[in-house]
Amino acid sequence: MAAIAAARHAAPSPRWDVRKIIRESLFYLAVIIVVLIALFPFYWILRTSLMSNFQVGQGVGGKNGVIPGALSVQGWKEVFTEDDFQRPLINSLIVSVACMVVTVVVASMAGYALSRLNIRGVGPILAFILLAGFFPVLAMIGPLFLLMRHLNILDSIWPLIIIYTVYTLPISTWLLKNFFDQIPAELEDAALTDGATRLQTLRRVVLPVAVPGVFTAAILSFILAWNDFAFAVSFLHTPSNFTAPLAITTFGESQFQVFYNVIDAAVVITSIPIALVVLFAQRRIVSGLTAGSFR
């Protein structure tokens, strides 16, 4: 690699020829455009959320252009005082974190078994897990609805923890299986010959080494569980049981006008945890999404 880089630098063309400068500027221009497309809409919802009901009613333009003439916390206040957004937020947090924990535990176990324990049928099992990852779960709303109705657990957030594993388990299991594959077996062999059991080895030797993989699976699981709308809208009907994405769809409508400042306050609040996770764990997410698909 180093040799290649060195060879490139030794290339005969002078360092600052005009074409190179133009090419570089065009590249950075493209980067700026991409960043704007990705992030400007977020600025706009932040801007709208910080306007008063009256300002929103005036429409965009004039005093309320790209930068609003005045700022107001009315939307942010109303979304909590009148719409009780804290309840759905807590619900979403509970469901996503619980689903994340279940996923990480179950996927670590399965991933380890598939990677190390010499079981029969590894191929079919992995194929089934992969298939589940591609499965059109949305078409399964009906039967799951009937099942939950039969068990009398409709309109509750707890079953969602189990249902959301269909989003999180396939990619996490694949990811962790691939991760375990890369940990040298000698590490465990030493512990095993010292008389440790498999489970002890998994807990004390393998998992500490696999922390980055487990962490990645946890982040992805959280994001995927936080994302769901279809199951929530199908199974929940009491507003205090709503998850955050479902609650957002019920805000801001009045007879005469849509209060986008209230809606967008909720949109901003729901985006913040996700944006923070992405900013701090960008590298993990990228490697996780790719390790889960192929290598």
Partner: protein
Amino acid sequence: MVTITRPGRSVTAGRPAAAGHSKERGDRRLGYILVAPALILLAVVTAYPLVYNLWNSLHYDNLTFATSPKSFNGLHDYNVAINTDGWVSALERTLVFTVVTIVFDVVVALALALMLHRRFRGRGFLRAAVLIPWAVPTVVSAMLWKTMFDPRTGFVDYFLGAIHPAWSNLTWLNISVFRSWAAIFIADSWKNIPFVAIILLAGLQVIPNDVYEAAKIDGAGWWQSFRRITLPMLKPALSVALIFRTLQALLVFDVIFVMTSGGPGTSTETLAYLNFDEFINKTDFGVGGAMSIMLVILALIISAIYVRAFRPQTTR
């Protein structure tokens, strides 16, 4: 390097045989115990409802008329699903939407992946910035674009109006069919292109650099090495991205629900939207089941086509 991982026994093959047979068998038993929870969970949320759906689709089952017997009625539910309720037009819309988004998303995502792959200052920030639209919930991105396309609140008409006064008050959602679809398409692509780009980026990362160097020495230009090296070697990543995105687009639901609720009229109702409506609003689990089964079959057919199209290349 580019092969899809084969489930390997190779990892354990190197271990000394001294461990003995009973140890091996104990390992194997533990292995089944450890794998079982994952398989049971996934079976509960995929296989079980699939079979239940199949059963329902062959019976009369409507919760609104719960006292009526759930009698076997053959393919009647399928007949109802296809011939009423606009299923066929929803199928056409969904397929057109899927094809258009897939082509657009993959082309844009490829350009984006090339950009993300390049080494430059600020690459980490660019990657994070691009990932955020993907990571926020679909409801958030849909609601965000609903705000943007609202002529009184969003920037779309505001900026368009600055270009041409006649565009300053277009109502995008739920008035014009074309503009409604355009808005849905933009919201959907904005959220999903990053994911496709990341998958393609992974594909780019496994192409060894010396292949490009060799091509350069042979006098190949950028376009030539892109066509002869990048595209062919990107095929495994492309196939993963395509299958994933296609199935996702086929099931497009959240964004429709939030932005148009199927309107104007029924002109943005998709298969998944109709399916949801049949289950939850009409509580008809027979006809809904039939729609689900047809959706699954459609997904299977499309996956099979992809697998076949990409097979020769993925093995090496």
